[in-house]
Symmetry: D2
Subunit: 278 residues, 4 copies
C-alpha cells in the first residue's frame, strides 16, 4: 500500500485534511468549538489537550498536565536546550528562531525518555489486559527480562545530577488524590513504581525515577499518546527557553560561544601542522 501523498490525492483525498480546526472568514472553529467560547474559559493545559486529543479535559486533569509542564520548564544554562537558545540570542536572529533553536535539540536523548517510557507503559498495560490471570508485578518482571535480554535500558530512571529529584515526589503527591477521586486510574503510576522497584531489586542499588519517568506515568494516566510526548515537552521547556533567550538578549553581548576562551576547555587532538604536497 502506497503511503505517497500524491497517490492519496489522486484517489480523492484532500491535500490538507484536518480534524483540528476549521478557519473561515471571521470564524475559527477548534475541534468543533468556536474559539471565542474557549478564550478565557480554557486554561493552557485544557486548550493543549483539546487541540492534541480532541476533547476538553476536566479542570483537575488539566491542572495535573500543567504540573508536568511546570516541572520541566527549566534546568538552567547547562542544559543544551537552554544554552543553544542563549547562544542564538547573541547571534542576531529573530527571537522566535532562538526559541526554535532550543526546541530543536529536545530530541530522543534530551527529554525524549518520556516517550520511550510511555510506549513501555502502554505496551505493558496491553499485555496485562490481555491475560488477567497474571498480576502487574509478573507482567513487569517479564518486560524487564526481555529488556535485559535485548540489552535495553529502562527509560525514565536516573539523572546526571539528581538522585532525589524534588520534582518527583511533588508530582506523585499531586497525582495521588486524583486517583482516589477517580479522575485517573492510577494504573500507570503504580506500574512506573513497579518498574523502578523491581529494577532496584535486580541491580541491588538505589534506583530513582527522573522527571521524564514521572511525566510519562502521568501523561499515560491522562491518555496522551506516547508519540506526542516530545511536543508536550517542547511547550514545557519552551517556557525556560523563552525566558533564558530573553535574558541573554538583554545582555547585548555579541557572539557568545559555549565557554570562555581557555586552554583547559577546548582541546585540538588532530594532526600536527602539515602542508599540502605540491
Amino acid at each position: 500500500m502506497s503511503r505517497s501523498a500524491l497517490d492519496a490525492y489522486a484517489n480523492g483525498a484532500a491535500w490538507w485534511d484536518t480534524a483540528i480546526s476549521d478557519i473561515k472568514k471571521n470564524e475559527i472553529i477548534i475541534r468543533g468549538y468556536p474559539i471565542e467560547e474557549l478564550i478565557g474559559t480554557l486554561s493552557y493545559g485544557q486548550m493543549l489537550y483539546l487541540l492534541l486529543c480532541g476533547e476538553v479535559p476536566s479542570v483537575k486533569k488539566a491542572r495535573l498536565l500543567e504540573s508536568v509542564l511546570v516541572a520541566g520548564a527549566d534546568h538552567g544554562p547547562r542544559a543544551p536546550s537552554i544554552a543553544a537558545a542563549r547562544m542564538a540570542a547573541t547571534c542576531g536572529i529573530s527571537f522566535n528562531s532562538c526559541v526554535a533553536t532550543g526546541i530543536n535539540v529536545l530530541g530522543d536523548i534530551h527529554g525524549g525518555a518520556a516517550e520511550k517510557a510511555m510506549q513501555l507503559f502502554y505496551q505493558t498495560k496491553l499485555l496485562a489486559d490481555a491475560d488477567p490471570s497474571r498480576d502487574l508485578a509478573q507482567v513487569v518482571a517479564e518486560q524487564l527480562d526481555q529488556m535485559e535480554k535485548q540489552g535495553e535500558k529502562l527509560p525514565g530512571l536516573g539523572h546526571q545530577l539528581h538522585d532525589a529529584d524534588p520534582r518527583i515526589s511533588r508530582l506523585y503527591a499531586l497525582a495521588r488524590p486524583l486517583v482516589e477521586e477517580g479522575e485517573i486510574s492510577g494504573i500507570y503510576l503504580q506500574m512506573a513504581e513497579q518498574f523502578r522497584h523491581q529494577l532496584e531489586l535486580r541491580k541491588k542499588r538505589k534506583m530513582t525515577m527522573n522527571v521524564d519517568g514521572a511525566a510519562a506515568a502521568i501523561q499515560c494516566e491522562l491518555g496522551i499518546p506516547a508519540e506526542a510526548a516530545k511536543g508536550i515537552f517542547a511547550l514545557s521547556r519552551g517556557m525556560g527557553i523563552v525566558a533564558h533567550a530573553y535574558e541573554e538578549l538583554q545582555n547585548r553581548v555579541l557572539i557568545k560561544g559555549p565557554c570562555p576562551n581557555r586552554e583547559d576547555l577546548v582541546r585540538y587532538s588532530g594532526p600536527a601542522l602539515r602542508h599540502l604536497e605540491t
Copy 2:
C-alpha cells in the same frame, strides 16, 4: 564600550550568568522559589510570567495572559507555521524538530506585529507621561502623523482573512472587568482603541484590530517587555503546531509538499531549455 563576551569574561563576569534559575544536586530554584513549591501551585501562565518577568502574577492576570495564549493557538494549515510543521512531520525528523520548524517561521511578519505594536504603545505611554498637558488623543495623533511621514504602517490592524475577528471582542470583554477591579490600568487598551479609531477617521474606512494588536495591548497591560512578544507567541501557536504535526504524523504519509502536483499551482517562469556552451 565592547560588547564582546570574551572581554566581559576577562573582566571577571561569569560566562553563564542568570537570574532565572539555580540548579544544584536535588535542588532547582526558580527566581528564588524551590520548584516543588511551584509545581501544582502555579498555572502555565503564572510560571511563564515568573520565568520571564521575575515575579508571580496574580491568578487573574495569569488567566488574562492564558486567554491571549489560547487565542493565538491555531489558524489551520494555511498558516505557514502550521504547514511547515506538518510538512516536516512527513519527512522523518524528530517530533520536537517538527515543532521547531513551525516555530522558526513565527518571525517579524507572521505573528510579529504584536512586538511592534507593544513598542509603539510603550513609547506612546512615555511621551504621554512626559508631558501631562497633552491628553492621550493628542499624543496618539502626533505618533500617527510621524508614522505617516515616515511611511510606516500601524501594526496590529487588518488581516488577510478576517474583518470582524471573533477573538478580539472576546479578549476585550475579558480584559474590561480587570480594569474595573484595578488589576490592570486599562491605559494600553484605551490607547490601542485610540490608534484604531483615529486611523479609521484618517483613512475614512473601517479599520479592525487583529489578534496581534489585541494581544499587544493586553501584554502591555501585564507589563511584559515588547522584545518578549515573539517568545510568548511561540508558546501560544506552539500548541497548534504540536497538535497539527502530531495529526500529520498519524497519517503516515511520506514527503508531503505544499500542494498537489497540479499545473495551476506551480509555474516555471525561467529561461526556456538551453545547453551549456562547450
Copy 3:
C-alpha cells in the same frame, strides 16, 4: 560504561575535544593544514571531504563528490524542503533561519534513503569480505532474503515522480572511468546494481535507482561514513534552498502559506459545531 559528558570530564577529558580544527590568534589550522594553504587550492568538495574525513581527496574524487552535490541541489517548490524555506522567507526571519528551516526537514524520509542504502552497502561488503567463497550475487541475495523476511524496503529505489531519472545515468557515466583508472574500486556501484537487478527479478517489474541510491553507491566508493550522508545532502539541497528562499524574499509577498485559499485544497474533518457545557 557511562556515556555522560560530565563523567568523561571528571575523568580528565577536555570538554570540547576536536581533531578537526585548532583556532588560535591569527592561526586557523584545519586537520593540520594552515587555512591559507587551503583557500584557493582546495575545491568545495575537497574541503568538505578534508573536514569530514580528515584527508584531502584527489581532484577526481572530489569532482565525483561535487557531481553528487550538484545532482541533489534542487527539486522545485513541491519538495517540502524548498517549500518550507520559501514560506519562511515570507514570514520575516533571518535569511539563514529560512535556510535552516529547509534543511531541518531533510530527515530520514526526505533524502534520508542514502544513509540507509550506505549502511546496507557497507554491511554487505563486510559480509562478502568475511567469506570469499561466496560471490557478490549470493551475498546480495541473502541480504534481500533477510530484508524480505523482516518486511524491510530496499532503500534507494523508486521515486514519487521519476521512473527514468536523468541524474542516475549521468552519475554512473561519471563514475565508470574512475573505476577504470583505479581512483575508486567500483564494488559499491556494482553492488547497487546487483540489488536493483535482483529485486527486479523477484518483483517481476522494472525497478529504477533513485538519486539517493546512486548517491549512496558513490559516497561508499569515496569512503564517506554512512552516518554523514544527511549532512552532505544538507549542503547539496542547501544550494537550492538558498536560491529559492532568496527568490521568494525578492517577491516581497507576506505570509505565504502552502496553497491558495481554495476549498478543494484544505478540508476540515473534525466534529461539527458544538459548545462547551456550562
Copy 4:
C-alpha cells in the same frame, strides 16, 4: 499596494512561481539547463551561482567564490554555530536537524557583517557612479562622515580574536590576478581597502579587515546580491558544522551542555531562596 499572497493569487498569479527550476517526470531543468548537462560539468561554486544568480559563471569566478566558501568553513567549537550543532548531536535528533541548529544561529551578528558590508559597498558604488566628478576616496569619506554622524559601525572590520587574519591576505592575493585579467573589476576590493584605510587614519590606530569584510568585497566583485550573503555563508560554515556535528556524534556522549559543571562557569544572580505566600 497589497503584498498579500492571497491577493496576488486572486489576480492570476501562480501560487508557486519560480524561475529557478522546472521539475517534470524524468526532466529536471535548472535555469533552462537539463540537470544531466550540469552534473559533472559544473563545480559546486558554479552550480550555486547558477541557482542563485541565473547564469553559469566562468571557472575563475567560481573558483574565487569557492575560496570564500573555504575561508569561512570552520572556526572551531568556540563559535556558537559549531557548538550549537555539536550540542545538538548529543541530544538525539536527526543529523540534518543538528546541521540546521548550527545554521539557524548564523544571523546578523554571527557572520552577518558581510551582508551589511555588501550593502554599503553597492550603495557607495551607486553614489560614485552618480557623480563622476568625485573620486572614490571622496565618496568613501562622505559615507564615513555619515556613518559617524549616525553612530554606525563600519561592518567587516575587527575580530574578537584575530588582528592579522591569515585568510584575508590569501583571499586578496587570489583576487588580484583576476582583476588584471579583467575577470572582475577590482572596484569593490579597492573600495573596501579605502574604507579600512580612511578609518585607520580617523581612529589613529591599526584597523584590520575581517573575513566578513573580505568576503563582502569579493562577493560584490562577483555580482552576488547583498541579501544573499547569509545563505552563502550558511553553505560555507555549513561544511564545518557538518564535520563537527559528525565528530560529536561519533563520541556517543549524551546531553553535552556548553561547559563542564563547574562553579566558576555558571553563576546564579537571582533572588535568594524564598517561598510563595499562601
